[in-house]
């Protein structure tokens, strides 16, 4: 009995500590891949035009602009949208039919995006970099996922629209 109490005590003590990953601020092997997915080079000297084109594209995609700092080339935007995934709903229904418990399914998500322009270090022009993240809530109003979106299609589509809007070709970096 005393032994199990000691074990309980130890577990409760450990529970109080959060482990912060040691590699938190180290560049990973995927850094370059992510940078190239999220960035394009534009041969322009007009940064303001590039920023306002980026804002236009985000508006076209249904985002509301949250913050702008044009002296740093920073735009942040967000939108709340439905997060229902038909595959997930099908699995939940199948699980219930088989006599399982009611499974939580994703309901709503907040997508946040930052669009940043940076003078290129190697040639005249600017690099535009966009990053999408999302927070997903399930039908019990509990956060079920927090993640950066790494789907190539999203980024390709964004830069295609940006390229058209700015009347310039988007070059891979």
């Amino acid at each position: 009995m005393t032994r199990s109490l000691l074990l309980l005590c130890l577990l409760l003590t450990l529970y109080g500590f959060q482990t912060i990953p040691a590699e938190l601020f180290k560049l990973s092997e995927s850094t370059l891949e992510e940078r190239s997915r999220q960035s394009r080079y534009f041969a322009t000297e007009n940064e303001v035009n590039l920023i306002s084109s980026g804002i236009g594209v985000l508006q076209d995609m249904g985002y509301a602009i949250d913050e702008i700092e044009k002296d740093l080339g920073v735009v942040t935007a967000s939108k709340n949208v439905d997060a229902t995934d038909s595959g997930q709903v099908a699995v939940a229904i199948a699980f219930m039919l088989l006599g399982g418990k009611n499974v939580a399914i994703d309901k709503e998500q907040k997508i946040r995006v930052s669009f940043i322009t940076l003078p290129s270090k190697v040639k005249e022009g600017y690099i535009a970099r966009v990053t999408f993240q999302r927070i997903v809530w399930n039908d019990r109003n509990v956060i079920s996922r927090v993640e950066t979106l790494n789907n190539d299609e999203i980024y390709l589509d964004f830069f295609e629209k940006l390229s058209k809007s700015v009347f310039l070709e988007a070059h891979k970096i």
Binding site: L5, L8, I20, R112, V146
Partner: protein, 138 residues
């Protein structure tokens, strides 16, 4: 009876361990000088905008998205979501005519990050991005 007294001691111990007052949570930081040094570096440049822009690029490389930025104040705040949440604030200000002081502070979920290695890693990446050495603050 013996079991009961063990349980009583255990509960008392846990109450003591969890005895962090709300005031301490608001104020925090007993060793402020040590923490400030750990979170600060100087870079030999007079270009504040360049340093802030590179801090933004560094944060993006580390998987953050930028929440807010102010060029005049040299402040950037950013969030990383990857199963956990990190909130980070970077401030850049002139230390002298030829030096910029950069301070970074981060929070992992609900806990302030106070490990020197984590900040060393951040400044190492920023240093590479700026092509400038990160100098410890005296």
């Amino acid at each position: 009876m013996r079991v009961l007294s063990v349980v009583a001691v255990l509960i008392w111990g846990l109450m003591l361990a969890g005895c962090v007052s709300q005031n301490e949570r608001v104020l925090q930081g007993d060793e402020q000088v040590k923490l400030r040094n750990m979170q600060s570096r100087t870079f030999a440049t007079d270009d504040k905008n360049l340093v802030v822009r590179n801090a933004i690029a560094t944060l993006q490389d580390l998987g953050f998205i930028i929440d807010k930025a102010d060029a005049d104040l040299g402040t950037v705040s950013a969030t990383k979501l990857s199963g956990y949440q990190i909130r980070m604030t970077v401030t850049v200000r002139s230390k002298s005519a030829t030096e910029m002081l950069v301070r970074a502070s981060a929070q992992y979920n609900l806990e302030a990050i106070e490990q020197p290695e984590v900040y060393q890693d951040f400044f190492a990446v920023l240093s590479k991005s700026l092509f400038l050495a990160a100098n410890a603050v005296e």
